[in-house]
Symmetry: C2
Subunit: 234 residues, 2 copies
């Protein structure tokens, strides 16, 4: 299939590569300075930041192609073309790291072209599902907790290990095991730590070692862990 991918960011970069590797002919364009006559193919994928999707769709203008965006949080209606879709890969992409696209969950939506979109998605991933805009928006929010906020917990931990004179790499076996555990049990079952039993002697000492937002985060998440574990018990 001939596919245009618009966007030179992380998602566009990884997506055009996966499509090429699956044997598609890919036209890869920059979201900032493409001209409508460069856009070709049966499917056009807009992989630009959320706020620019509507502008890019408008700039493409009239086309017989299916036009899809890759955003978790923007609705299908962000695309102005009649043949429209969403092609949301739920993964964290870095320019420097290869990812195995076959395992990335792809969430699709279209009111005109589900079979075509599905065919394209299944050529690069074994993990393809249909999901509407409202539930996709929820899923994107879940991804923010599971990825972005998790990574920030790592970042706060790395600042503390540095203060302790220990290399961050000492935490990697713990980080890996924490991720592996939830393959086998639910995160609520997997929960450990002083907040589970509201061990105030440990919690108060920890809070006394922190300052600023890290201290507020410690307090709030500890309370939330306790509430969550307790609501499961009741």
């Amino acid at each position: 299939m001939v596919v245009s991918v618009i966007g030179h960011g992380r998602v566009g970069t990884h997506l055009q590569k996966a499509l090429r590797q699956a044997g598609h002919e890919v036209v890869w364009l920059s979201g900032r300075d493409f001209t409508p006559d460069e856009v070709r193919g049966e499917v056009v994928i807009i992989a630009v930041r959320d706020d620019a999707i509507a502008d890019v769709s408008r700039h493409i203008g009239n086309t017989t192609a299916l036009v899809a965006h890759t955003s978790g949080s923007k609705p299908l209606s962000t695309i102005e073309q009649k043949r429209r879709g969403v092609f949301y890969p739920m993964q964290t992409f870095s320019k420097e790291r290869e990812v195995e696209f076959k395992e990335i969950p792809l969430f699709l939506e279209s009111d005109t072209d589900m079979p075509l979109l599905c065919q394209l998605a299944e050529s690069i991933s074994n993990n393809v599902r249909e999901l509407d805009s409202e539930n996709r928006r929820k899923l994107h929010l879940a991804a923010v907790f599971a990825c972005n906020f998790t990574n920030h917990c790592y970042a706060l931990a790395s600042q503390i290990t540095e203060e302790a004179g220990v290399d961050f790499s000492a935490l990697l076996p713990l980080i890996d095991e924490t991720a592996q555990k939830v393959h086998e049990m639910s995160p609520i079952e997997a929960q450990t730590g002083p907040a589970v039993r509201m061990d105030m002697s440990v919690i108060e000492r920890h809070e006394s070692m922190l300052s600023g937002k890290a201290k507020d985060i410690y307090h709030l998440i500890s309370e939330s862990i306790y509430d969550t574990v307790r609501s499961k018990e009741n």
Copy 2:
């Protein structure tokens, strides 16, 4: 070596097993109802909850053995015996899951018996270091962020995927990649998501989808991510 392990909880269970597998003779006792005459061996490891360590040490009473506890947050001085130590395995243990003890970082402290403690530790782990009480307490705090708080982010994400009608397992490739990334780059470099660029249209919509402590956590961590990324740029 003959080693007594006191404590039938998660740490005690995994530790006595690893010690047996390494060829030691292990006397495994319950922290609640052992009698001092049952305690034998050159090393006695107290693997009970933080608040019970001092009581267990007192109950053991006079002994020529080295007595060590396994707590990240309690100081060496919690042990009342003259030959005393700390043997802190930094990992999250579950009763149901096997762990590869060889890869677990073990942090040791002793003012009387470092060589003996080190010999015992190196028989079960390839990752043994010395660390004093103050820095171990910091490290334990880092572990709370990297493990307990990370797991709570998974738990909040699981509640949201449930509302979206999507199985939690859809998040596993994202969770695994988030953990894998910090093997190759620092968590600050790995940070992605709407908070990095304070994308208020996404952040405000996300906050409107949340309530209670999850909403407060979203707001606070987003601000903390923005501060962290900005302080790195400056």
